[in-house]
Assembly symmetry: C2
Homo-oligomer: 218 residues x 2
DNA sequence: CAAAATAAAATTGTTGAACAATGTTGACGG
DNA sequence: CCGTCAACATTGTTCAACAATTTTATTTTG
């Protein structure tokens, strides 16, 4: 998927660590020891630290002076902020999209993947496909920088998902909503699609905030 | 302005370099020698390289493998992309703003600075004040992440400004437009303000693209 | 003389070790 | 039980070294 071979080592490292982070290999709040990771990944401390800076800038890690780096624990405020961003990026992108945009095909493909995964109860893949769906929505806007920013924000959101432990509740209900959204766009009704998307985002935000609040209470 | 004393050295370095970059201390396309900057700034290569990574991720520097880092030369495509982003962030932020938002006061203050600077023909400060004005617009949206992203994008845009050499043409005409925009917002007419802003952005984009095209031809 | 091939120099990429500064742990005494 | 202080571990930063690559200079060749 990546032609990582050409990339400098710290970036490869950062990509590898990011995969682990959004894949749930580490738990939020966990401290990442330089020594331990250097040994495990077989790179020097300097190289690892450069990768840490990258991921810190993306919001996936937090750096506390003289104490080390920690996996970000998404706060309620962070989730609220992320959903505000999502509404501001995704809804206009969809509202102004034209149905033949290549990203629309990616939206459709993501929905089909999600349906198939749901049928075999593979909630992990349902979540991934859902993310591809929304990434494609932002790509409708045809802005390299916007897409890059969205990738960053959604990676941070994934961290929040791993705080919760009911992936079915988290992703399953949204497959059909995505289906409806892409269908509306394909029918040339982008405004209606955007309205559905906003409903989706509000509902999703509430679900996650509620789950997060329950977790904080416990 | 910054409490840089507490920040780790690479970040302080990055801030310092960023100031230089958006202040025009380097010219786009210029190569930054590690050795030379290490000597000049009195830091080690490792530390400098960490700062480079940060700025590369922000789009201010470009990293070519085994060849070093170069000051980004903004392309026509980059400028178009940046203005697309600006329209998508600034216009909705302004349209949904309420006039008593603290950021509105910052908009007003920026306009006053710009007027004063224009009177004494200090185009550099006019440009800075103009940037503060638009930063404040994004802050109306109350999103930490959005503001951070905008800071990054506008830093990149500043690079493009330094490619041009007529700061008066670039900034002077917009002081009055900004004045009109904040006045509309203060009068409780955010929709009209947003419409004016869109006009502003379109006009500004055309000016810069034209200047950039002239420069490319020469 | 021009162009290609080659050798030399300079630069970046990565590592490892060193030491200072800061944080953490645990024993000790009140 | 709580605070103090020393021992320990970890991070922050620098330095030196070497491999890999690019740039420059030189030589060879047509």
């Amino acid at each position: 998927m990546d032609q990582d071979l050409a990339l400098p080592l710290p970036q490869k490292l950062a990509n590898q660590l990011r995969e682990g982070l959004i894949g749930g290999a580490f738990t939020p709040g966990q401290r990442l020891s330089e020594q331990a990771l250097c040994d495990e990944l077989d790179v020097s401390r300097n190289t690892l630290r450069e990768a840490f800076r990258l991921l810190t800038k993306e919001g996936l890690l937090e750096h506390k002076a003289n104490r080390g780096v920690f996996v970000t624990t998404p706060s309620i405020a962070a989730v609220i902020d992320i959903y505000r961003v999502r509404r501001m990026l995704e809804c206009p992108a969809l509202a102004h999209a034209y149905p033949n945009h290549p990203a629309a095909a990616r939206m459709r493909a993501a929905v089909q993947s999600a349906r198939a995964a749901r049928q075999r109860l593979d909630w992990r893949e349902v979540g991934s496909a859902n993310m591809r769906f929304h990434t494609a929505i932002v790509e409708l806007a045809d802005s390299e920088r916007l897409s890059g920013f969205y990738a960053q924000v959604s990676a941070e959101l994934r961290l929040a998902f791993f705080l919760l432990d009911d992936p079915e509740l988290l992703h399953a209900p949204y497959v059909d909503m995505n289906e409806a959204i892409i269908s509306l766009l394909e029918q040339g009704r982008p405004a209606a699609a955007a309205a559905s998307l906003e409903t989706y985002l509000n509902q999703s935000e509430r679900t996650i905030l509620a789950a997060l609040a329950r977790r904080a209470a416990a």
